[in-house]
Symmetry: C2
């Protein structure tokens, strides 16, 4: 039997966690609300509860450790989580130490950025599995990114690498939440895309979105866009193609820089599939220099949110093989 670990995907609204066996994948899953608004102490308590409950599921077996994918900035040593968005009152917390207090001082606990963990999960259990190196892009509330290089997370100088969402495609473009002009998140982040769709479709009274999204399209969501696209709505398809074009531009920049030619796209918006990915594929080739066209591919992640839990557990399996290298200066 291969080792067993707990993988936790810490989100702003829910904690998804699973018992994972290295070779078999998910064994047992739990989802609980995060109640982030109750403050960090309550959140830490809830993670501890979930981890304990999962460990109790396999009373006869050893648990190699607990891996956690979290929003916010993670330090090089994979112990602390700083300023996760939508977690009020959370500054910098050593989640490793806090969980060890509860689970035992010898328990291996590792924390990593949620986008990186999704990439690692895809690399070992998802659409990224056939490819030693790929870019993972997560289209959700924001635009997350990770670099998987030779089956490992490329972490940069401090552990923060992979922020595709904040790469610019237009230096005079709209500002994203981080204040970067023309960053891809300012087009594809959920709030930005919904807003764009709302105003873009205002003059298209033929669009069924006027019936789906209420007066003045105020309630429009990305989910509605692809539901409408599936039903043949021209306006919705146009918006998703527009988004795909922007995605292709930023991926082109990333490919030129990294010479990594496979891209795995996950997150809620990836459910729109080819409505967004087909135009992205066309644009990608126009933004990658000709010498690097061979092997270019954009693939949809099909394991959905599971890659988060799987990747979090895999942090522990990888740690068994090779500890984290010491911190280089930035």
């Amino acid at each position: 039997m291969t080792p067993l670990a707990v993988g936790v995907d810490l989100g702003g609204t829910s904690i998804k966690a699973a018992l994972v066996e290295r070779d078999r994948g998910l064994i047992h899953e739990v989802t609980r609300p995060t109640y982030a608004e109750e403050g960090p102490e309550r959140v830490i308590e809830r993670i501890g509860e979930v981890a304990e409950a999962l460990i109790a599921e396999a009373p006869e077996r050893a648990i190699a450790g607990v891996g956690i994918g979290a929003p916010g900035a993670i330090n090089w040593e994979r112990t602390t989580v700083s300023h996760p968005p939508n977690f009020p009152g959370w500054e910098t917390i050593n989640l490793r130490d806090r969980l060890r207090e509860r689970l035992g001082r010898r328990m291996v606990v590792l924390v990593e950025n949620d986008a990186n963990v999704a990439g690692l999960g895809s690399a070992h259990y998802g659409a990224g599995k056939p490819h030693p190196s790929f870019l993972m892009v997560t289209l959700g509330t924001g635009v997350g990114g990770a670099i998987i290089y030779r089956n490992r997370i490329f972490r940069g100088s401090t552990g923060a690498a992979g922020e595709i969402g904040h790469m610019t495609i237009d230096y005079e473009g709209p500002f994203d939440r981080s204040g970067v002009a023309g960053a891809i998140e300012a087009y594809l982040g959920q709030r930005f895309l919904s807003r764009h769709a709302r105003y873009r479709l205002m003059t298209r009274e033929d669009s069924i979105l006027h019936r789906m999204a209420g007066p003045d399209l105020q309630g429009i969501t990305p989910k509605m866009l692809y539901d409408a696209a599936v039903l043949g709505d021209e306006g919705a398809r146009e918006v998703l193609a527009w988004a795909g074009h922007k995605l292709g531009c930023v991926l082109g920049s990333a490919v030129n820089l990294l010479d990594i030619r496979k891209i795995v796209v996950g997150g809620g918006l990836s459910a729109a599939g080819d409505f967004i990915l087909a135009p992205a594929r066309l644009t990608l080739r126009r933004f990658v220099m000709p010498g690097m066209h061979e092997g270019l591919e954009i693939i949809r992640e099909t394991r959905g949110n599971e890659v988060g839990m799987l990747g979090a557990a895999h942090l522990v399996f990888q740690f068994l093989d090779e500890p984290i290298p010491s911190h280089p200066s930035p």
Copy 2:
């Protein structure tokens, strides 16, 4: 005594080569015209001649090998050079095998992309030395780039990583030589920058460039721009600041993706120093997400073209420590 190697910097107009001692650096230098227009056979012959002449300079010592920095695409194994720009008739040539025919079948010969070699030279002998990880940007005829990560060249999936010059900063911007819209090379490449300066300064009759560059500013060069800037010319300073702003935009994208926060700028245009780098530094911070501002730095390479020869020789020294890992699929 530390090992000795030959480092060759193969350019379109001249071959610069040196005998390099690992710990001491350049021992003896030679420059010869490339005569690329006479075809690849003559170029290979000339590289062989230069290498032999340098080896003969140290008759009493062993030579660890010959490293070559070349334009064009290099394969993962560091043996072939494909389609170097400005080398008529050159398709794909196994430069390693060809040089071994001349220098002996047991001679270590390694080829690497010229921008990567400049980065490696800077890492071990130049401005990059204090930093384990940095981006190297070479502002010359084109815009070259290299990623140095933990003192090694980050080579991507096939060996082609680092093409910062073809990253877009405006998806509807002007096209570069590779056909990428808004690529940084379409602003900072020598031909593009000269053209921009020429038209931009047409209406500034007060600029001394009208005296330096001839009628209609037809003969304007980047060198003239910074000569004029040093003399206080407002128009020239404006053009260089415009260029620096664009450079800051693309570097911001690269930093967000890689979390590598040091940038070393070399090449002819880097001689313009703070006229271009001061605005680049200001813009860089506006295009990097706030969580990654710590440690951001743009440094000028002060060893000039020497980093090419030094880095080429260092390919050999590094090979002595660790052979090239096997090729992953792209």
